[in-house]
Amino acid sequence: MLGRTLQEVSAALKQGQITPTELCQKCLSLIKKTKFLNAYITVSEEVALKQAEESEKRYKNGQSLGDLDGIPVAVKDNFSTSGIETTCASNMLKGYIPPYNATVVQKLLDQGALLMGKTNLDEFAMGSGSTDGIFGPVKNPWSYSKQYREKRKQNPHSKNEDSDWLITGGSSGGSAAAVSAFTCYAALGSDTGGSTRNPAAHCGLVGFKPSYGLVSRHGLIPLVNSMDVPGILTRCVDDAAIVLGALAGPDPKDSTTVHDPINKPFMLPSLADVSKLCIGIPKEYLIPELSSEVRSLWSKAADLFKSEGAKVLEVSLPHTSYSIVCYHVLCTSEVASNMARFDGLQYGHRCDINVSTEAMYAATRREGFNDVVRGRILSGNFFLLKENYENYFVKAQKVRRLIANDFVNAFNSGVDVLLTPTTLSEAVPYLEFIKEDNRTRSAQDDIFTQAVNMAGLPAVSIPVALSNQGLPIGLQFIGRAFCDQQLLTVAKWFEKQVQFPVIQLQELMDDCSAVLENEKSASVSLKQ
């Protein structure tokens, strides 16, 4: 049951094959067994059980709230959750218990979803590895998969397994690990430059970034307001569509949400025929740093569309090479601004120094933020200085417009969806990852993803195949603004063609699988 998709388990709940409480307990149990993954910062066991109890009553009375009723979900710890600690993996917010729910959290709860807990991330979502938070790095469940381990055994050079675990990618690595390790059926991430799609690619999941303005940001603790969107991590495209259906729509509390751009619900048709589709392949995304395996899969994917009758075009997004630098300027500038509120006065960490207000600010912020956050604040403030504003911020905004126009031009040339890699390569071991600093890593890892955020477009990473090392590789589809449904429909067709293998966590489960012993009908995927 735990290995199933959201859609499948939702059907099982409706048919009474399992009750919400049973499902909740199984997930809680697995969360405990997989604690070493460090996917969760806070496990909201009591809340989840209570919600399960209420859900169970509804099912008994035939008053189910819909597909999400009784479904265990997890939420990245940068979404405000009423009464549940929300830390952003930072000392600054350790112990901070918000008095309100983010709109997306409230919508999930209103649909009957069970909140299992708050997931780990890079501090304030600044990172691409989920390695730079105060609660430590998140471990990629694929490190413990049969697929990966078997490949490693064949490699005589492989080192000690335990110290050689892989990163999840990030910054929504906790959410990705939580879904990947079957501790929940869907999780919210946030996506500012790729933070949902990147860990989705590394953890073999569907990672969806909706159009900017489609889903409310109210309650999402901001990284870059003009680029942030709540992201969705699921095991399949249909699940992402179900969650999107629950979350999308205008919010009076977020003035940047758009009124009724899309017809709901997000039911995805099964495409029988892709011959009317035009897939664009941006030539600038073919860069030397791209691993040969990813490049070959990308090319195979294009061939697949071609062979099924779709038109596949090479397109140009000429300003791509300026994108990551531009992103850096805009991102740090907004970070500098957004982080100004953390002064230790209203909430969060406050230092013991009280000689003056200024001294208190300084010490509070020094103690509260890690080097990455402080570094971004510093450079952001530099870019916003009066003498630098025109040369950096304004210029970056202009480049941002050019980048957005690149996409518009590509779509205007008749392309329906763009197909690109999500990441340069598969997930790397933690010890390898930390050889480079956060900034370098972010610049590398966001290379294919952040331009989409600057243009506000919908994009989804779909797991395609396993690498030679037995690790997932994802490809990214980018759609027209507010054509999220079309994008997901194409992604669903593609997902069906590639038949990405399900993670085999048999050993992991055996290590800790009292939960599965009674699971007579353990899903096929787990037994493979």
Binding site: P98, P99, H218, I221, Y361
Partner: protein, 519 residues
């Protein structure tokens, strides 16, 4: 749409001092080079030619002020500019604070429609160009009562620009001539107010009250077209009246502030970049926060608020939901009568002198009082104007009362003026009645007149009798008169009037006396 109320927040202005050097026209900026004391400053806007010398010695130069003002008027709306918190005064500290006002992470601003309407109204009233598209910006500075670390304002593209304010300065021997002057309005912008810091020096701690944090302000920026404190004060007063026509406000800090800065400069001090607030009880301005040194506010577009788009009749999209759009033309139609128009009307309608119309408008509630008297009395407008501006206002000033605190109601004054008009009582008796009315004994003018027997003596026979006996009692005066001293008759008139307790018409007395003397 109801008129938005505007409350004055007298603070934030910029001053430029130009020294008048020995009669020459050379002018120079203040020694600091500072042309602005803006509350949250931008670069200087002074337009005087620079003439730099060493610092002036005391008394060596006269100083002429070149005054530009930034006036922050608090918009009186039910809720704050970007949150649903109530706006209310003297509420318990921190009782009107939403999650957004306290800058809880993840909260977002939502623009208050009424504040936008207030800004459009004010812009129209001040002859501004209303920008169909305006933008919001973040202005960063760390301060304990600014929870987000930035203030949302309109730096790049404000809601209204390029307006003008016409005001009248009194001149002439008796200050009875009104000279119209105009000050340009650079812009009107919407912005958030900050909270309040309360410093407890005894325990060396600062307490923060966020009730005011996020309340909507209209910042009206005047170009430095004003040349003295009086002009500044008059312009501000006119602006205040305009804002009152849409709401209410009161404050006056201009004169005090200029004198303070002149003293400061003459004493060799330097005028710091600082924000000063007017303290009503102390009657002086006080430093609000230390803004010494140039501060870089690191302005940035507010990413959580899309551009504010306004429409007019021509640009209004068909089928637009009236709740979702603001129509400038519609607001223009609802504008109330502005003070300049009111004054014009008073002059036309009542044949009033222009300076009298100014006085009527300048005192809060006086115009309304006047108009209420006019409604109920048959007396001539000139008579009413004279009574309201001289007698009534005189009594108020003497006792330092506001119109609303007056013991005399418009109806009572109307009744009194009617009696005067119908010659039931003399002017002197009327003054007496007015004085009685002022005592708040709850009597009507009619009651007072009859109790005190103040009616004019209509009985000619009785008056003739009285005149006769008065002539008999003062033969010396009669002799004087007959000897050819015509002024002596005034003494007799006075005596007769006194005997009638001023109830007799002096003209009638004079007539009777003259008749008797010539017979």
């Amino acid at each position: 749409m109801a008129a938005p109320m505007l409350r004055w927040v007298g603070r934030g202005r910029r001053w430029t001092f130009a020294r008048v050097d020995g009669g020459s026209c050379h002018r120079r900026e203040a020694p600091t080079g500072s042309t602005s004391n803006r509350i949250r400053g931008r670069s200087s806007v002074a337009q005087q030619p620079l003439y730099t010398t060493q610092k002036p010695r005391k008394g060596e130069h006269k100083w002429a002020a070149v005054v530009g003002l930034e006036i922050h008027a608090q918009i009186s709306s039910n809720s704050k500019l970007f949150s649903g918190s109530q706006v209310r005064f003297s509420a318990p500290p921190n009782s009107l604070v939403s999650f957004f006002d306290a800058s809880l992470p993840g909260t977002l601003p939502v623009l208050n429609r009424r504040c936008v309407e207030a800004a459009v109204m004010t812009g129209l009233a001040l002859n501004c160009h209303i920008n169909k598209k305006s933008l919001f910006d973040r202005k960063h500075y760390f301060y304990a009562d600014l929870p987000a670390g930035y203030q949302i304002t309109q730096q790049r593209l404000p809601i209204a620009v390029n307006g003008s304010l016409t005001y009248g300065v009194c001149a002439g021997k008796k200050q009875s001539q009104v000279i119209p002057k105009t000050v340009r309005i650079k812009q009107i912008q919407l912005e958030q107010d900050s909270g309040k810091s309360l410093h407890d020096d005894l325990r060396s701690q600062t307490l923060i009250d966020l009730n005011r944090a996020g309340v909507g302000l209209l910042e009206v920026v005047l170009e430095p077209d004003l040349s003295c404190g009086e002009e500044a004060a008059t312009a501000v007063r006119e602006l205040q009246l305009i804002l009152q026509a849409l709401g209410t406000s009161q404050a006056n800090m201009a004169d005090y502030e200029i004198q303070r800065q002149i003293n400061e400069l003459e004493n060799g001090g330097e005028i710091l970049n600082e924000t000063r607030s007017f303290h009503y009880q102390l009657g002086c301005t006080m430093s609000m926060r230390d803004k010494e040194g140039k501060q870089d506010y690191r302005f940035m577009p507010e990413p959580n608020l899309p551009p504010l788009v306004l429409y007019d009749a021509t640009s209004l999209p068909a089928g637009a939901d009236p709740q979702q759009v603001i129509n400038i033309d519609q607001i223009r139609e609802t504008l109330p009568e502005l003070p300049s128009v009111t004054r014009e009307r008073l002059v036309q309608q009542y044949g009033m002198l222009l300076e009298h119309s100014f006085t009527l408008l300048n005192e809060v509630g006086l115009l309304e009082f006047f108009q209420n008297v006019m409604k109920e009395t048959r007396a001539e407008p000139k008579k009413v104007t004279s009574w309201v501006l001289n007698t009534f206002l005189g009594y108020l000033k003497q006792q330092n009362l506001a119109v609303s605190e007056s013991p005399v109601t418009p109806s009572a004054l109307a009744e009194l003026l009617d009696m005067l008009d119908s010659r039931t009582i003399s002017s002197a008796a009327a003054k007496q009645v007015f004085e009685e009315l002022w005592k708040r004994e709850g009597k009507t003018p009619g009651q007072i007149v009859s109790e005190k027997q103040l009616e004019l003596m209509e009985d000619r026979g009785a008056l003739e009798q009285l005149c006769h006996s008065m002539m008999e009692a003062h033969p010396q005066v009669v002799m004087d008169l007959k000897k050819g001293n015509p002024r002596a008759i005034n003494k007799l008139i006075g005596l007769v009037r006194k005997a009638t307790q001023s109830r007799a018409d002096p003209a009638m007395i004079k007539e009777i006396l003259e008749k008797k003397l010539s017979s």
